[in-house]
Amino acid sequence: MNKLLRTLIPFDIAKGLSITGKHFAKVFFTANRRKVPFHITSEYPEIPAKVQPRYRGRLTLLKDEQGEIKCVCCLACEKICPTQVITIEKGKKEGRKMPFPVRYDFEMERCIFCEFCVESCGFDSIILNHQFELAAYNREDFSIGMEGLGQNMYEPTPVGKFSVADD
């Protein structure tokens, strides 16, 4: 008898409907920009997406206080990179004892953002910054060099400027 009653009167369907109904009511009657919004959609361009401090973004060469590039071309990052995207050419600069990278090419196209290079660098001269807007319109923009070639290692990729969040 109990089983017949349970099949006749749809309690289980009613319970399911009540759960989704509660969610509908909460999202419908609360504006979507309270302090803690009930919905889980993050409106990305309008509200800038926050990333954790250890986020692995794009490779950048660092400069010390005098504006000198810290890299000393020990080629550790070039060896440790699993997909071999870093190519460094050693060169000399007059006022500096340590060697100076003439060309530091980084192919963001094949980089897998594993942060082995930063870990293997003994001189803390490269980091992965917190930038995640890395799209580009054509393939050449992905091979980033030190100077010129449109994008270089120091500024964020130009596409980042389109985000509406600025205004």
Binding site: E78, K79, I80, Q84, T87, E89, R103, D105, E107, R139, E140, S143, G145
Partner: protein, 292 residues
């Protein structure tokens, strides 16, 4: 300071004569470095090695003593003072947490039971890093598997994994096929190993453990070992008409290039040539990671 005296940036680095065609055939990735040693872990080779190492060490020490004697004799002859007596080089104490697990004598009773049940067919049994290994002759593998499956004392219900490794530098055999058995009830693991020459096709384990079906197909696909009376011995991962077996040591990482799709779908190859020209200037080269 008219602008001529300033260093004129050359309008472009000396442009290479023709279009820079990246020669895949000669790329470092396609060169194959054949392994010279045969890293097949076994108790006999390890003991032989240790003996050889001790002997070499002893010989070196004797040679040092002999040199010392001759140097002393020569010093007396010219009246100079005697050189310092050589001190035995004490092995460097590495304090780090790394203790390499060497093969030890087989103390586990499973291995001994296998030894006395299979008798001559078992070539070697030893323990390493807490794992039991038993090397069986290549003809008796099916019998060993049946024994492990049906014997109440052994009772290895599941064949967890079956793989093979290619040893080009080895004499007498080319592959080692490894079976990892798990006994769920007795919570034990065992590794059966057979050494297979190039053209020999070992018995398929599907009769005893049906789970070996796909594993053996993958071994055939990757290494080219055909297993006798296997339900359907075809390639599983690569396309059916793929030439060559990728996991062999003489197969280059980038492949023979028989299926190289165009750098991009541009039919004319115009964009590809431009990109490779730029690649030439950027010096993008696919280098082999040399681990010094």
């Amino acid at each position: 300071m008219s602008d001529e005296t300033l260093p004129q940036p050359s309008e472009s680095p000396e442009a290479p004569a023709g279009p820079y065609i990246y020669d895949y055939a000669a790329s470092p990735q396609r060169q194959v470095v054949m392994p010279k040693t045969v890293p097949l872990p076994s108790l006999r080779t390890y003991e032989a090695e240790v003996k050889a190492a001790v002997a070499a060490d002893e010989a070196k020490w004797q040679k040092m003593l002999a040199d010392f004697e001759t140097a002393k004799a020569k010093a007396e002859a010219e009246g100079k003072e005697a050189p310092k007596p050589p001190v035995r080089p004490v092995p460097r104490k590495d304090d780090n947490d790394l203790k390499t697990p060497w093969p030890q004598e087989a103390k586990d009773d499973d291995l001994h039971r296998l030894q006395e049940r299979l008798g001559g067919k078992v070539e070697e049994i030893f323990e390493q890093a807490g794992e039991l290994t038993c090397q069986v002759s290549k003809e008796a593998i099916l019998e060993a598997l049946q024994l492990c499956r049906q014997d109440i004392a052994l009772n290895y219900e599941m064949l967890a994994d079956q793989t093979a490794t290619h040893y080009p530098a080895a004499t007498g055999f080319a592959f080692s096929v490894v079976y990892h058995l798990t006994s769920i009830s007795r919570r034990k693991r065992l590794r059966l190993r057979i050494l297979v020459p190039e053209e020999f096709s070992p018995e398929s384990a599907c009769a005893v453990y049906p789970s070996a079906n796909w594993m053996e197909r993958e071994i055939y696909d990757m290494l080219g070992i055909r297993f006798a009376n296997h339900p359907d011995m075809t390639r599983i991962l690569c396309p059916e008409d793929w030439e060559g077996h990728p996991l062999r040591k003489d197969y280059p990482v980038v492949g023979w290039g028989q299926r190289d799709i165009a750098f991009r779908e541009d039919r004319g190859g115009m964009l590809e040539r431009i990109a490779l020209q730029k690649a030439g200037q950027l010096g993008i080269n696919l280098k082999q990671p040399k681990a010094e």
